[in-house]
Symmetry: C2
DNA sequence: AAGTGGTCTAGACCACGAG
DNA sequence: TCGTGGTCTAGACCACTTG
């Protein structure tokens, strides 16, 4: 008899991986907290320490966990450092990373437009929150951001809490949504009149447009962010391997 | 007695890794050829198969090797697919990857200018080869590239052989230089007059500038490439994790 | 069937951090 | 000194490729 086992074959450590991932998604281990030790997990799942290790190794490579030798394995959280720098690729001309500041221009609620429906995987008529803000580097406006979120995921966004500099931390702490990945499409465009005011530049100046969709741990689109960047003194850094 | 062993500590598999890397750099295993099996390497280096495996695992992650289950481990080469796509992040508006064609405009030799000295780590007065070419997507010019190479590394570049579409393959096959990494700085700028002619666009059109330095296996800068891209119908794709 | 990479185990020991 | 992650081994077996 031909079994389907050969088709369904998944290495043990991959299976362990999804079991562990599910726990993270379910919030059984909070971001920042330590996991049980490898030995404990091995005992619990009934596999060897090496197998647990291989699962955790892969998840650490995916930035789901952080390991600290001699201490333990931790559920990674978007620390200020990480959310600013790991997803923030704007660098000053001398190559140094810079800490951006931000100022909110507006927060409005509306019905999703075509771009939002597409990128956030919404249905016609669903509601969104739109946040417009500028980001400053060395006190000068450099980026205008247009951010869209689905209301169903972020119902009271901007109503009760202040909007912090690093949004991904807020999504995680207040809405239990963890951004793990982002896809960016870059192009050069002419600065629009409405954005020109905020960047204090003439209309038509070439700016870098970044069309970013942020994806959560469970593969759902979380945020659509359209940024316009003045790259006269800063650039976007990309390292390819 | 306090030994320095604790300071010099390097895991066995790291040591094995550098021994193996040296062989690749020395060309003892040609690109595309198969390595000895893990068991053979283990025997040769006097370690266990698992240790060899860990070394090869890391090097595979670094794109130095390619593994094929049931067949062997191979020294990776820049196949057309890889050099086009792995270092080529321009995608059409519908998200599909496109195969660029290229047309050489000029090849000249000169003394290195300031930018070249800096990026290629040259001394004042050293010679460079400059290649200017356009790249076409669907028969239309989309990219102008200004490429600079150190003459000392690529002495007869452009003299005897035709210049192929995929330069990194040429560097590898003719000059024994393997590009393993590239750093790109992106910004939006106004199209210059000299480039405008080639892209068939008005002077001043916003274009994406990519300032790329390619780095070899042994960490030396190999190539400086300044590209200007018309992003009206194409964009630059960046995936962050 | 033979050979290769891929997985898994059980157990040992090392380096690191904290008490 | 203890507990944690990190390394290493020897040996077994599985899945994939080729003859």
């Amino acid at each position: 008899m031909v079994t389907s086992s050969t088709l369904n074959y998944q290495p043990l450590y991959k299976q362990i991986k999804s079991l562990i991932l599910q726990r993270v998604i379910d919030g059984i281990w909070a971001p920042g907290s330590a996991l049980p030790s490898e030995q404990q997990l091995a005992k619990e799942f009934g596999v060897s320490q090496g197998t647990i290790r291989k699962a955790l190794d892969e998840m650490t490579a995916e930035n789901i966990f952080v390991r600290k030798q001699g201490k333990g394995t931790y559920v990674s959280q978007h620390s200020a450092n990480r959310s600013l720098f790991h997803f923030f690729y704007i660098v000053s001309n001398d190559g140094k990373r810079v800490m951006p500041d931000s100022r909110v221009i507006s927060v409005i609620r509306s019905t999703a437009n075509k771009g939002e429906i597409e990128r956030l995987d919404l249905k016609q008529g669903e509601k969104v929150v739109r946040l417009k803000r500028i980001r400053l580097l060395n006190k000068k406006p450099v980026i205008v951001e247009h951010i869209s979120l689905a209301v169903k995921m972020f119902s009271d966004f901007g109503k009760k809490e202040d909007i912090p500099n690093t949004l991904y931390e807020l999504y995680e702490s207040q809405y239990d949504v963890r951004v793990m990945k982002a896809v960016e499409k870059l192009r050069a465009v002419k600065l629009k009149k409405e954005d020109a005011i905020h960047l204090e530049l003439p209309e038509g100046t070439p700016v870098l447009e970044i069309d970013r969709t942020a994806i959560s741990l469970d593969q759902r689109p979380v945020e659509w962010r359209l940024s316009y960047i003045d790259t006269q003194n800063y650039f976007y850094l990309s390292e390819l391997t």
